[in-house]
Symmetry: C2
Subunit: 433 residues, 2 copies
């Protein structure tokens, strides 16, 4: 009988051991790919100064951040809160440790972040984010954009058993178009409509543009832009409809096209020719990214939406330092992605027994030979459990079959002879050890 | 120029990438040993109900717990705080998911916990704990105690480059002695003196007992008890001085001796004959453990004190449920241990370059062949960085030498011929690829 409500708080992802094992496997694969691409891992504290976390305040963040109450013995400290992403603590870290880091700083952070937002299916208040970032000091070559995109793609591909597409755009290119069309002063509102355009019928997007008071010509050109997607060879020439307009000579537009082309060519060299395509509907939020933006999705599961993304930002540390640190980064929201894969039947096949061999002594007299056998098998790399409960042998066997791939019963004879038989719980097969 | 204080909050362990890599390596080794011993990993939420976390309130905990302020959108939730150990959330987890778990539940939890205590060297307010526990339903055989101790020992041994000793006692045995001597009503105070006895001169311990008003005979017997340490063959017969006293027939004493002997014999079978010894000074806190207690230490570094420990408890879930779940567990405080190993020069040799190969294109023209080469090397399992900065070639080379074990320069010739030379940055040796 429970004496108290023991459910986890709303919005928390609490997994049973088999699901946790799958989750850990995915996390490990992401870590491995990030390491293979030369990213160095760091961990920032979960608790940080509110002044740091809310330096760039406003919007949702301020409403969703969890503040932490100081204790009697920490009362002299600054005001504190839980980090809501990896980016702000990274900015603090880069400024704090600048002299001890080698730039470009290729960094990965994998850990839990916290947002106290309204509970929603598949959205968690405590969630894992798996980030990579390349931070330059002063400047950072555009080629790192391709490298970060390839890293994101390979990380996802290492455990997602479905086709993955990476769709790429460039915020400079978009800004250039808006400048060329003379509507840049409404760029935030226009980008918001573009950002939303995949989730609504075309007419609604068009109406959205019109509500902003754009001319027929501008609306038509934007609608045409949103139709363009595909490989660089198709998408870049498709921008021809902007020829002979003011857009065509706009500095941002020209720079954006050049960057986008370069990123696509380099992605080809990195093996993403089929996975990567240009899509001008990709915006990735409103006020952070300044160049390349990208988003990963599952074309066979369109309802799922984004499963990761990122982009280029002009300056990571503007709020903390006068020095300039441009960067490019990508992030996988693993808690949400894990939930999505499970609900779409894409994670199930990974669930296997966590223990290789369960050793079952017939009676307490065989505990010692069982322990010695366990020691040997562990040395050879096996995951081994010795089943020691006081239950009947039958109960011990069914417990063993639940947790392990195979089992060895150690009775008097086995203990005396040192001859053991391993039973495969799946096939029923027995083999001499 | 910094605009703001970017140091982490006091009491936080923030590592640079090479130290973080070493830390991660140790954590990984602990995870591997825990898995090899058949423990299943779970993760409980960092934030939990205050009602749960403080169910067994009082003492230090209540003063040190970090409460979390609910946000606008989570305002309807229960009062919340950050977990201060793994044990309380585990108790909640076991009661909540009882019907979905197989018992004995061998479980490991590795993650960050939080205690807002006074800042001290080597003590952190946010710290990693690496726990194993075996939880029985109703009962749990004593043999699991040996299994948990062996797991702790092997986990520590996998990365600590110094001799490790595990000292073991039994709280039933101690309680039996106190009962036999007729001083059990002061057991909490007496155990506190014993717990402290290693840190002070003998006279002080003796004085401590006398201050409690114990008889000369009782003080003498306790002082004798604290002198006993060594393997079971020596330590158990050394208890002979208690013969022909009321202790000798005390139920708890007899049970404690039997348990302790059994644990020592099984530890031998598990390979700990040299590492494990009995030591009656081991208490491990006051009101939690009820049988076996143990503590790991580094005999060559006596000042370091405990580097891990644990014990047997009668009931994990008493505050949450009427059902009984006895258990035995061990914990490594990795943040503190990492700090200790570093300050004692026991971690240094692990710090190696995190990247296997840095590929350095001579100019931007060689980016594509460099990316293609990176793709191949990564496929073969190597950790590869492509150095793309706009700096001079010399700067790129010295950056490469900082982050990688070896480097490959890709110039026009290499790009054209596909012939690459790998330079080992440590030895200066070059090899054809």
């Amino acid at each position: 009988m429970k004496k108290i409500n023991t459910s986890p708080l709303s919005g928390m992802q609490e997994l049973l051991p088999p699901a946790q094992a799958t989750f850990n496997k995915y996390k490990r694969k992401i870590e491995e790919v990030y390491a293979k691409h030369g990213f160095l891992n760091i961990e920032t504290p979960t608790i940080d100064r509110t002044e740091i976390l809310l330096a760039k305040a406003g919007g949702e963040t301020e409403k969703q951040i969890y503040k932490v109450v100081k204790t009697e013995e920490t009362a002299d400290d600054a005001d504190q809160a839980l980090r809501f992403d990896h980016t702000v603590p990274l900015a603090r870290y880069v400024v704090e440790h600048e002299s001890e880091l080698a730039f470009p700083f290729k960094v990965t952070q994998i850990g839990r972040n916290f947002r106290g937002e309204r509970a929603q299916k598949g959205r968690f208040r405590e969630f894992y984010q798996c980030d990579v970032d390349v931070i330059g000091r002063g400047s950072l070559p555009i080629s790192y954009d391709a490298e970060v995109i390839a890293t994101l793609y390979e990380a996802l591909q290492s455990f997602v058993k479905a086709k993955i597409k990476i769709r790429i755009s460039n915020r400079k290119l978009i800004l250039g178009i808006l400048e060329g069309l003379g509507i840049a002063e409404k760029s935030a509102e226009i980008c918001a409509v573009i950002d939303h355009s995949e989730k609504v019928p075309k007419e609604k997007t068009e109406a959205g543009f019109r509500e902003l008071g754009l001319s027929d010509d501008a609306v038509q050109k934007l609608m045409q832009l949103l139709e363009i997607h595909g490989p660089a060879e198709i998408a870049i020439p498709a921008l021809a409809f902007l020829r002979a307009t003011a857009v065509d000579t706009n500095e941002n537009f020209v720079a954006g096209v050049t960057e986008l082309e370069k990123v696509m060519i380099e992605l080809s060299a990195l093996g993403l020719d089929e996975a990567a395509e240009i899509d001008f509907r990709i915006i990735r939020g409103l006020d952070y990214y300044t160049g390349t933006v990208f988003e990963a999705s599952l074309p066979e599961f369109p309802k799922v939406g984004s499963i990761g993304g990122g982009g280029r930002y002009e300056n990571l540390t503007g709020f903390f330092s006068d020095a300039k640190f441009p960067g490019v980064g990508a992030s996988i929201g693993l808690s949400r992605l894990f939930y999505i894969l499970n609900t779409n039947g894409l994670a199930h096949e990974d669930q296997e027994a966590p223990v290789d061999v369960a050793i079952i002594p017939v009676s307490e007299n065989e505990n010692l030979p069982a322990f010695e056998l366990a020691k040997k098998l562990r040395k050879s790399g096996k995951k081994v459990d010795v089943v020691l409960t006081e239950k009947r042998l039958g109960d011990r066997l069914s417990y063993a079959a639940k947790i392990a791939k195979g089992g060895i019963v150690v009775g008097e004879t086995e203990a005396a002879t040192g001859q053991f038989r391993l039973k495969n719980f799946e096939t029923g097969e027995e083999t001499e050890l």
